[in-house]
Every structure is written in C-alpha cells, then in structure tokens.
Subunit: 334 residues, 4 copies
C-alpha cells in the first residue's frame, strides 16, 4: 500500500500515521520525492480498509499494490470433474439445452438429439430469476426431477440455476453442477453456503461486475472449502444496444492469466439474439475458452423464456461442426 | 406492441403471425407503410415474451409500447409512515448513522447527538455484504439488538440492511425499516418474501440497474402485498472513477414522474468520499428528493467499513443547517 | 511512479531497470516487501510513457502517482470576464437561447425577453454537429451575424459553438465566448489553435470522457497561452436511458476541488427532455456550479433541432425565480 | 414513427397532431388500443426531428421505426481495393506496423520483415492525437515521407491517421488509406471533406460510440461521394479496467449484418496490453472480421508511444501462423 500525502503535509502528521500503522504491525518506508511525499506500507493489507486513511486531511490518496483476491491464484493447474466430463486446458466442453424446462417430453426429445451431437452437459432452468414479477418464473422443483431423469437415461451430467439459498439441498440431490446466475454473483450468503458443499459450481459473471469482483466472488466459494468452481463470461452492460449485453471476449485471456479455474462463455445471454451466437461461439473458442453454454430450443418462437436467443437444433448441430474445426486449428479436443 | 417486418416479408407470413397472435386473443392492425410493413398488436402484452417473435425469419424487430411495470404507477399519491416519521412530498427525512454498528457504546453516543440535530431515523449495518470474503462482515444479530435499544431509548425509528432471506423474522422483530441493498435489488426470492410482511422496505437501486429495473423490483414487493416501499438512488457504475459511483441525480425527477413512491438519495455510497457529500446532499434536496441517508462516524479513520465516505458528526451537523436553508428555498419542511 | 515486479523477478532484472531509469535521470528506491518487490521512481514522469515498462516480462504493473494535468491546478483563484459578465465563485451566470439560430426575428424576439429575466449571456448554434448527415446542420455564418446584432442591440455577450478549425477567425470576430462541443473535446488540433487566441473558451465535457481527460483538454488551451477557460458538465453516456445522458452532478465538486476554473452545467443536453431541466438546474446550483446553460425556444414543437429539450420562455422565467431562491440559500448572487 | 399518447389525451389534441403531420405530408393511422392510444405515422421521417413531438403535453413518447442510416445499407456486396490488396468477404488482410513512426531506418527494418510475413499493409502514425498536451505528438509530415518511401521500396500500401482537416492534400499525396481515429469519428467537418476525395478511408469506431453512430459517420463519407470505407472495431469504454478498452467482438457480426462494408479489428488498442493481443486477434478472425490492424515494434520498451500494447516482431510472426490456421478452419484465404 502506498500513502500519497498532500503537498502541505507536516512532518508530525507523517510521524503520526507511521505510528498508527506501526502499531498495527505494518512496516513503513518514507519517500521524500521531488513532487510527492509517499509512505510505502509493507505487510499484508488485504484485510485493512485502506481507503479510510484518506479521511486524514493530509492524505491525498491511498494506492493498493496488493490484489484483493488470493485463493484462485494459488491453486495448482487443475481440472474440474463432472461425472465423466473434465474441464481442463486441453478440451472444449459443450453445455446446451433450453433456457427453461417446460415439460419432460420436450426436454427428453431435445436431449436425445443433443447428446448425439457432442453435447457434454445438458442445461435447463427450473427456477428462473426474472426482471418482471409478471414473467414466467419456471416450473420449479418439478424441473429438477426432469433433469435427474435425463441424467439417468442418457448418462449425461445436468446443470441448473439456483436462486434461493434454502434450495441448496434440493440442488445437491438433483443436479451435477449448480449454476449461480449473473444476478446472484454478489449474493454472498448463497456463495458462502455453496462453498460448504461438495458439488461443482458454475459462477456466472454479473453483467455489471468487474473481473476482479468475479474473482472475489469465486473466493467466497473457494475459501469456504469447495474447490470446484468454473467461471463463465456472459456479457456486460454497456451503452451499446444492438446486442443484449456486450460479450467481454478479453475476459477469457485475462481470467486465464489471473487464475487456473476453467473459463467458459455463454454467447446466448451476451448476444440476446440467435443470429450472433455462431460468431460469438467461434470467437470464444479461438480466444481460449474451455467451453460454451448455449441455449437450444426445438421451437424458439413458442419458448416460455428467451426464445429470441435460442438456437434451433439444426443450427446448433451445424455450429458444433464449425466449433470442431476451430478446436482442431488451436490443438484442442472436443 | 409493434412488429416490424423485414422488407422481403410475404403476405402469407404476415397472415401466419396474425393468426398466431389472434389465437392468443390479441387484436392486430396491419400497416402497409411506404418504407416498412408493421403489425400493431393490441391488448395486454405485459406477460408475453414479445422479443421471441424476432425468431421468425421475416420479423426484423419487435417494439414494446407498453411499460413493463404496473403497481407503482397505479398507486394513489401516498405516504409511508415509520413510527412518528412520515415520508411524503412536503418534508425532508434525514437518516444517519454509521456504516457498520461496532458496539453499543459508540452507537449510543452517536445517536444521542444525531437525534438532537434533526435526524429522523438512525441507520446501522449489522450484516454487511462485502465484495471480499476477507473484509469485516458486520457483528450480526447483536447489531440488531443494539439498534432496538437505540429505538427504545431515543424513540427514534431504526433501519438496517438484510442480506439473507432466512433472517426476515429477525429483522421484523428488531428494526422499523428493512433495507434492501444495491447488490440484492434483483434478489427476487428476497423481494417476494419482503412483499408478504408488514414492514416498510427501503429499496436501493443496484449500481448497475436501470430505473425501469428498479421499478420492476419494487413491484415484486408491491405485487405481493406490501405497499410501503421507499426508493433510494445511490449512484450507478460508469467509466468515471473520481467518485466511487456516479450519482444519477436525474433519477430523482424521473422516479417522481413515473411513480408515487417516496424517493431518497444516499450521497455517501455515490460519492465514496466524504468531501463530496455536502454538494451531493444539497443537490439531491434541490432536485426534489424526499430525504437523505448519510453515513456518520465518530472516528472515520478507525471505522471498520467505509470510513472514507463517512462524515464526522460536526461536519454532518453543519450540513444539516445547509439542508434546512435549501428546504426553505423549495418550500419543504424538515 | 511505482514499478511492481512479478514474484519471480531476478535481482539482475531489477538492476537492469534501475540502470535504464537512472540513465533517464530518475532516482529509484527499491522496496523488498513481504508480498511484493517494488521500485519507487522519483522525478517528473509526466512526459514518460510509464505503462510501456510493463513490456518487461518481469514487471507486473506500473502505477502512476503523479497526476497528468498541471496548468489548471497551478492557477491562482481567478475570474473569467466576458464583457460586463464575470464568472467567479460568488455569483451565478445564466446562459440561455435556442439550440439553433433559425432567423433574425425569432432570436431577436426571444433575446429581448431573456435579457429582461436575468439572462447574462445569449447562446445560439450556427454550425451544428449532427450525428446524422441528413439532419439540419445550422444556418452557418449568417447565424454568427445575427448573434453579433443581438450583442450590439442588447449589450449582452453571445456564445456559439465552433466545429471547424478553419472558422476561428470568424468566431473571434462575431462572438464573445467560443464553445467547444462535447464531440470536439478531444479535437486537439482545434484546442491548440484556440489556445493561441485571446477569447474565452467554454469547453464542454465529452459525453464519454473522464474528468481527468476534460482537464487535459483544458490544458491544451491553457498551455498554449489562453487562460480564459470555462468548464461545462453536460452529462455522460451510461446504461440508463430514461434520460439522454446522465448528468454527472459529482463533477461539479470534483472539478471545484481539482481546479480553479469556473464550472457550469448544461442541464438541457444531460436531460434530453424539458420536464427534467428544472430539477437538474436547481441541483447544479445547490451543488456549487457557477452557472447554467439552458436551451430556450419560443415554439419547441417546431424547433429545427433539440425541441424536446428546450424550455418555453415562460417555463424558463419561472425556473429563474427558483434559481434565485436557491442562490440566496447558498449565499450567492445572481 | 409511432406517437404514443398520454392516457388523458383529448380527441381534439389527437386531431391537431394529425393535422400538423398531414400538413407535412405524412399519412397517419390512429390506433385506439385497450391500453394505449397510438398514431402510426407513415412516410420518410429520417429528416424529421421526431423526438420534439414529446414537447406536446399530451404525447408520452415517440418511437422511431425507421433506422437513421441509409447509404451503407443500400450498397451492393462489394470490395475495397487498395493497390494490389482487396478487402472482401473471402480473405483476411493484415495491417501492421509501429504506433508512431520514429525514424526512417527503424521503419524500413521493421517493414522489410513484416512484408515477408504475410503483412499486406504497413501502418505508422505521423500525427498523434494524445490525451495529454505533454505527450509525444508524432514527427509530423516527415513521417508521411518515410511511409511513402516504404510504399515505393516494398510495393506495399501504407496507412496513417489524419487529425487535421487542413492536412487532407498531404495525406492524399503520401498514403494509400487515410485512417480516421476513434477521437475523430464524430468530427463531421473532417468526414465531409474525406467524402469528397478519391482515397480509401479506414473509419475507427469511437470508444464511446454506438454501432449506429459509426454507421452514421460512415454515411457522412459515403453520402459525399467516397464509397471506399472500411470500418474498424477497436474497443469501447466500459467499467472493466483489466483491459484498456473492452473489445466489442459482437460488433463484427452486427456490422456484417447491417452493412456490406469491410470490417476489421484493432486488437492492440482494445487490449492495451500485448499479452492479450493473440487471443483477441484469433477471436476477431473466428468471429468473421475481414482483417486486423496490429501494432508491432522492434523495441517496445523504448517506443515513443503505446509500447505496452505493441508486439515484438517474433511474437507477431508467431501470431500470423496461428491466424492462418484459423483462416483455413473458416474457409478464408490470407
């Protein structure tokens, strides 16, 4: 941590601050620069509210040198295993399925096709967090039962989104990966509880959250003991409105640099329109993502949610073929 | 709802869409414009996923005419009563106190001064949602007990932030207003449950949420039966970094136009630094806000959270005098 | 400047960088912290491309301590005089007039009323920068002639926006303040030339520019010799779309802290709709702005540009009365 | 255009607006919906200031159906030829070179290597628009001479950025493509003049501009007669600060859908750091971009500008090999 003093700071004030910090077991080095006077503070400041030092009239600014996140950085290069599927740096994992589960027949029919076309994991929403209280909110627990059936019948892992901390037991019982949606990325109560269970978590970046905040949310899970976290970039809110959100493709290499956790991309929510999903999917794989989560629906024009951003099955299968070619070009398996 | 067709749409396709919509009991009027062909769809489309119609190859866009929110608009001009304090259009309500409750003596000492200086409601955080799992997280339930004591001793309503849906009973017992923080503005499970109780709710705008989303979150509470909702603007995330967030001062007149709910402003979180709180407070009152929520701390340089954005008591009392002058200038009471 | 090394940095690499910097006449202090190794670089780094040091494989980050702007900071507390009008900390200056000058009669009629109602400066656009090439682009040089007539007849300073560096002589001849619009805030060629003339400049913040960038653009003018710069906040682009832009009200106290230049606010462009102008105007004055620039039009429903954000004269006169009350409340003159 | 009335609109008011619009030769259809009353306005409203109708007390909103841009849409599928290089849908064009030209030897040495490694066009800045007046501003006209020499010696087209409308003749004489930088995307005076010459223009998207605004800026050039416009996505300003800007990868398929103009990507300015350029380059090609513009510098640690985002030659050559593999995977030539 660097404390930058105002020009008119007095020696006694610098001394006072040094005493306060030394008292808290920090070492300090004073730098009397040509332009600024600085105090370099040595020691672990991660739990210190450093910015509060700007309350002192003679402090102009406090600059944090230390990154606030820890856990995700110190991991060894590692894999997340979900049933027979492994997320690691060498392969591409495809997750696909409808935004919302509507009934057992439709999900069964769709899943039977998806598993034949290189889809590794089936997704389906049971509890839907919706901006409007008047929108379709999902079929609830029944949806999880249907997913479990799909898992049994096709030997394929399933994933669904949790919205209520009181539902954790239910999800542990029925799904193979628990998804934390963008709106709950900073629901710390939920994250802490998910850190205490033994089930992989797919943590989606909030549409307004920085990469640093995503890593700190991941640490809420990791620091509580659950080491199986998969990160998912799904677009951020910007001023551009031709797409629902702006896919932050740079997040892929940045997250790959800052952490060893698997990183996947959800092009459906980022684009908000099916026409752009192919481009974004291929871009994500080329950028180094470990997988994709794509919304597919048999009849998107009648989907109960997110129809406009769902691919029809044949379009999805066509996309899978293109993904395979890109994967080969960058020496990855699918 | 307006459906805008692509240039090459065929009559049979328009007819098909009309049939689909008529079947769902919507009336349609076809407009054969010089430049575009349109279908005007009449009826309540608030529960229709209108955008999914863009899945049709021949549809270029779907434009919603109807606003998605309802409840907050249809309210009569009305007040929210909290103990002996009333939020309405004629007066200014001041809420003040520390970011986090640290212990009973310090809150008691501070509260005794605040109530003497026109502060109507005492705030204090017990459960703190923090970006980092390594930051101070509040003293928990004990904090609520301390608040209740303040309420009894000084006959002043108290407010604290809820972070866990499982804590609702606790909050109902101990506080007079339950605050929903920015990060939980779209925690719909929490909002729904808060809609079922009989206790005023202070709903803060998420730092990345639109005004429309704030109103829809308010409707989650209103539509479930709880009609005592107070809205709070507290700054949004933008590219500007001289302040922690950018106070959206325009939200005050916009919310006043779109709803009859009380609207207050939190200048502390918006500014992120105590030096700017005075300007923002006076601006908020001049813009028409019904009140302010301000962080005050006896020794901000040792505060366990948000010290840099807390006012020292004497600065706050000085600000209150200025607020009174602005209130007089715009014919409001304090 | 602080250089933060990667964990695996070698002594020889640190030594190499020290040599390079010493060779450029910078003093360096090495800090061997518990967690990070740092190099504190002492000396004026304002012309150094500091970030390029991250090209070194062993450098994790470079942190600038020094602010990049200079001129605006080092000014004495000072005034900008425009004819008989003075911008300083004690009074409020009102600038009003139509977005575009349409013809001489309409501007004359409007101006005759404005000057009777405390308007200190008349504005009017002659050359209009428009997003679409098909929109009305202003009446050009003729508009400047009309403004000059208003100036002569009513003894009131006039202001208009410049869009072409080749028009500077024209503007010097006809107007009392030259306005640089938001889209030209980073047109450095224009700024440099305006720095060489002897005429006050109103520099509007670009709708996507930071406060720091605004100050650096001001320095392009100041550093070239023209010391009469007035800054104008007019809203920034955010995700919120209930208003055309988001008025960054915090920019007023921030700019007041960082500089001694006069700071005014344009609520018309920020709001984008006449209904919000009153609230934003009063907020700006309460926040400490030195003046306002407001669009007024006799018949906004037929205005050739920006009709929706123009006040009708009677609404403007009513607003002026309210501004006067706020001015009194904060001990300013108007 | 759709006019949406307020609930309490009177018939006489609707009639009045219809008369006004009919008088301007627009046809109107009145829709008396269950929830809203609407007026559908038929005819070309592209030059109408539609939003000003909200000035009427009885109008709630005006919704534009018509897109504001025209030219770029109505083009035939087409190519832009620059010397022996063609931008079209079948191939990838690589533009590379230093941010700033520093002297003739260094550019000659670098260019001799670049042309051997599939680089089709050499870039180099002569006039640099810099945020700070104290930064290196380029070597000016001399830089253009050096570029012309490179063009003659290696038979390779060259590109440089224009910053002053008064320099157009100079650029026409010395370079093969004139680049309009992000900060000048809305410098309409410059765009209009560039529309009158016969030289390809590379138009970079402003870092705060929407795709719609980019297309409207392109129309300033196209509508004035110059049909050779290449669009360039280079990142937009968002709240994320791990990268200099956020590359809007979705802009590639969106621009490809809305226009027939070539679309390239500049990963250097988007990333702001050389480590991310490879990922973003491969992503851009996979997403469908027609080319890339990449900053390459022999000694980035001593570059006079943008060193941190420049690739060293060997890293660039390595990247070119990977680009070739992606190009093959999506059936394009390089």
């Amino acid at each position: 941590m660097i404390v930058k003093f105002k020009k008119n700071v007095k020696d006694i004030q610098i001394k006072h601050l040094q005493d306060v910090l030394n008292h808290q077991n920090y070492k300090t080095t004073f730098i009397d620069g040509d332009i600024y006077k600085l105090l370099v503070v040595i020691g672990d400041t991660s739990s210190l509210e450093t910015k509060r030092l700007t309350v002192y009239d003679f402090v102009e600014d406090v600059i944090n040198i230390q990154k606030p996140y820890k856990e995700s950085l110190k991991q060894e290069k590692r894999k997340v295993n979900v049933g027979n599927v492994t997320f690691n740096d060498d392969n591409i994992v495809l997750i696909a399925g409808p935004c919302s589960i509507e009934n057992d027949q439709s999900l069964d029919l769709l899943s039977s096709q998806l598993v034949k076309h290189h889809t590794h994991i089936i997704r389906g929403g049971a509890f839907k967090p919706r901006t409007s209280p008047y929108s379709f909110q999902g079929i609830g627990e029944k949806g999880l039962h249907i997913l479990k059936e799909i898992n049994r019948k096709y030997k394929v892992p399933v994933i669904s989104e949790i919205t209520d901390v009181r539902d954790i037991d239910l999800f542990v019982k029925y799904v193979d990966i628990i998804q934390v949606g963008a709106r709950n990325m900073q629901n710390y109560v939920l994250l802490e509880e998910l850190g205490k269970i033994n089930k992989p978590i797919l943590l989606k970046r909030g549409f307004v959250n920085t990469i640093e905040e995503l890593l700190l949310s991941a640490e809420y899970i990791l620091a509580n003991g659950n080491k199986d976290v998969i990160l998912c970039e799904r677009g951020i809110r910007t001023f551009e409105n031709q797409t629902r959100n702006t896919l932050d493709i740079s997040a892929v290499p940045v997250l790959k640099k800052l952490t060893n956790l698997p990183v996947i991309v959800d092009p459906s929510h980022a684009a908000g329109h099916w026409e752009y999903i192919e481009s974004l999917s291929l871009a994500a794989i080329a950028a180094g993502a470990d997988g994709l989560m794509i919304e597919v629906h048999e009849n998107p024009e009648f989907a109960l949610s997110d129809g406009q951003q769902s691919l029809k099955p044949e379009k999805y299968f066509n996309l899978v073929e293109k993904i395979k070619k890109i994967a080969i070009a960058i020496d990855k398996k699918i």
